[in-house]
Symmetry: C2
């Protein structure tokens, strides 16, 4: 089912925006954090547990679902919503990111037509094209499909990037041409690496093609390159239409959510809350300035529940958190589960971490509503 974006309010001192996503008779507010269900399941959680975190849109990965169980199976099942029992909106990525970034895809061959690579599951030769990516996403029946773009390596030079943007624009156009699903939005993706002029050019040309929403891609998501990420957003967002959603792909560190909402981003996704959880970590409020970071920059604050100091800690992860985990369980219990490698420990931490990021977006919305976003941002960065 198509989503409709409605801009509600623009912050006066920053680029932050409050918005609504209409989805049938449901409405969701932005800024929004979207949990990731790579294999048609948000790792370690039931859909009910995901819903309890107040999640709106969730993600699923085209690359993984293409290989397994295959789009044919999901289409026969009546689409992703029924298959995985998620009846809120679903966004699928294009598959491009995984094709370009996963280690086993190092031997990929990028041509004008598309990308040749080998399946990680059985070594089978695969070929992903802009048309194929859209066709797969159509079959998955997600609500938002992404254009197939090249994700250039971080080391790419200006000339490489220029050619890559041109190809990505041709791919976006080809994808749009075959996109036939009236019930599915199609988003375009802005590339351009760290270059102001290339970002502007990529954004303007992508907007000319005309999409239902726009993503900022190819941002350096690296602790030492925070400023580069924020700049890439700053260089892209001004050229995007105000009445469309803006999506920053693959970013989910709390400080990045705040900094990129300040620069006009509406929606985010990241595997980090569930990945951190599987390693025993819980996000906690505030930011952390690591002493040894080469380039200084705020990082997330977290605690690792494996730590022996939690053995007798009978308080929740966060006293003022309203998540199921914090309302119900102590750190001592979660510590015990993590030490025993019990699955329920990962579930409890995933619930907390996802709810943490969603609560952060709720606080940002509230701040924008109350003309207090910049104050909130400063307070958060010094907390």
């Amino acid at each position: 089912m198509k989503i409709e974006y409605e801009l509600i309010k623009k912050d006066k001192t920053t680029g932050a925006r409050l918005g609504l996503i209409h989805y049938g008779d449901k409405t969701y507010e932005t800024p929004m954090f979207m949990p990731v269900g790579t294999q048609a399941t948000v790792k370690t959680l039931s859909p009910e547990q995901v819903a309890e975190t107040h999640a709106g849109i969730i993600l699923a990965n085209t690359y993984h679902l293409w290989l397994r169980p295959t789009p044919e199976i999901i289409e026969k099942a009546g689409g992703l919503h029924g298959f995985m029992n998620w009846h809120g909106p679903i966004l699928t990525d294009s598959g491009g990111y995984q094709v370009f970034s996963l280690a086993h895809n190092k031997k990929k061959d990028i041509t004008e037509e598309g990308v040749h690579f080998k399946s990680e599951l059985d070594g089978r030769k695969l070929f992903l094209t802009p048309e194929e990516s859209i066709k797969i996403q159509n079959m998955l029946d997600s609500d938002i499909a992404m254009s197939f773009d090249e994700c250039p390596p971080a080391t790419a030079d200006r000339t490489y990037l220029k050619n890559s943007i041109e190809r990505t624009l041709r791919w976006a156009e080809r994808g749009k041409k075959v996109h036939q699903n009236p019930n599915q939005c199609l988003f375009g993706i802005v590339q351009g690496g760290p270059h102001r002029d290339l970002r502007k050019w990529s954004a303007e040309e992508t907007v000319k093609l005309g999409f239902d929403g726009y993503a900022v891609g190819g941002v350096a998501n690296d602790d030492e390159e925070k400023e580069a990420m924020y700049q890439a957003v700053e260089y892209s967002v001004p050229y995007l239409p105000e009445d469309k959603l803006r999506y920053l792909m693959g970013v989910g560190e709390p400080v990045d959510l705040v900094e990129c909402v300040a620069r006009g981003i509406d929606i985010f996704d990241c595997v980090s809350p569930t990945r951190l959880a599987r390693h025993g970590n819980a996000l906690v409020w505030g930011v952390n300035y690591p002493k040894n970071a080469k380039k200084s920059g705020a990082k997330e604050k977290r605690i690792n529940l494996k730590n022996a100091r939690f053995t007798e800690d009978f308080t929740p992860i966060e006293e003022d958190c309203d998540c199921y985990t914090c309302k119900t369980y102590t750190k001592a219990y979660i510590h015990h589960l993590v030490k025993c490698d019990e699955a329920f420990g990962k579930t409890l931490l995933s619930i907390h971490n996802i709810r943490f990021l969603i609560r952060l977006t709720e606080k940002m919305r509230e701040a924008i509503r109350n003309d207090a976003f910049d104050e909130f941002r400063r307070e958060f960065l010094s907390s």
Copy 2:
């Protein structure tokens, strides 16, 4: 909180009984299957998901909780119920079974005083006595504690068993003497291996000591020894008082539940539903007579969701099952999760398998209520 057993109805043609367990203002029916939460968590499930299977009592393992997180921690947390968020009844075993059976406890040293062995976690020397077992279970604050008994090896001869029963009786008496918790029931355990006279003697002497309920222990739980298991129950049950609960420890195969309810057992526990789930298996209705079994006997019917034949099977595991899994998900989806080794696949199968055994007990209760238990049993065995 202490439980009270109330016998409601005795079947006319078999030993089956319909009963009630009163627990504060809650009431549960027997025959009952009790899911196992070894480490203070029913593996891969939240307490809400366990409750949704209509579970009544759940089990926790004294041995495991003694080693980790330790009874001191659980006592400081206010007891097991709050620690693990389970507000129905909890039964703890005595720790004896693990001390005697776990492979790393092969070098145990059994004395009159208790059992010396080494911790599986850190090699620390440990000593478990009847008094210590009761003290630990008191600290855990379970609702039903079990007496510390010797679990003799299956190969034990008559002389060994006789001495073992005598020691177990002395241990039961010592345990009872130190059991001070007015809010906790204490159950005795009948041993005696395959011998009719030893079972009778063990049962009578244990009953003389006087407990709140009785378990049948040391039954051969082996596919090739079904008859021996049923006999051990037959040899023990007639000497147990009618107004007390009868518990068959560690038995959870569907056919064994039916056969042992027919012989007068009220409650069962087993790790099998969650263990089977973690290996991709779902219990399905009916019994299976394996062709190659040395001693014939009915076994559980199950399907393995890893099997490729479920790739495009868009039906639930069981059409008439009312569990969350069967009401919501197809075999194709669970097959996909199992193939991807996603935790939620184990969760869905655990829910189904536990609910399967609980539904089986519900059907048995209904049959006893309607004077149709023997018919139900025959139908089940030929289904």
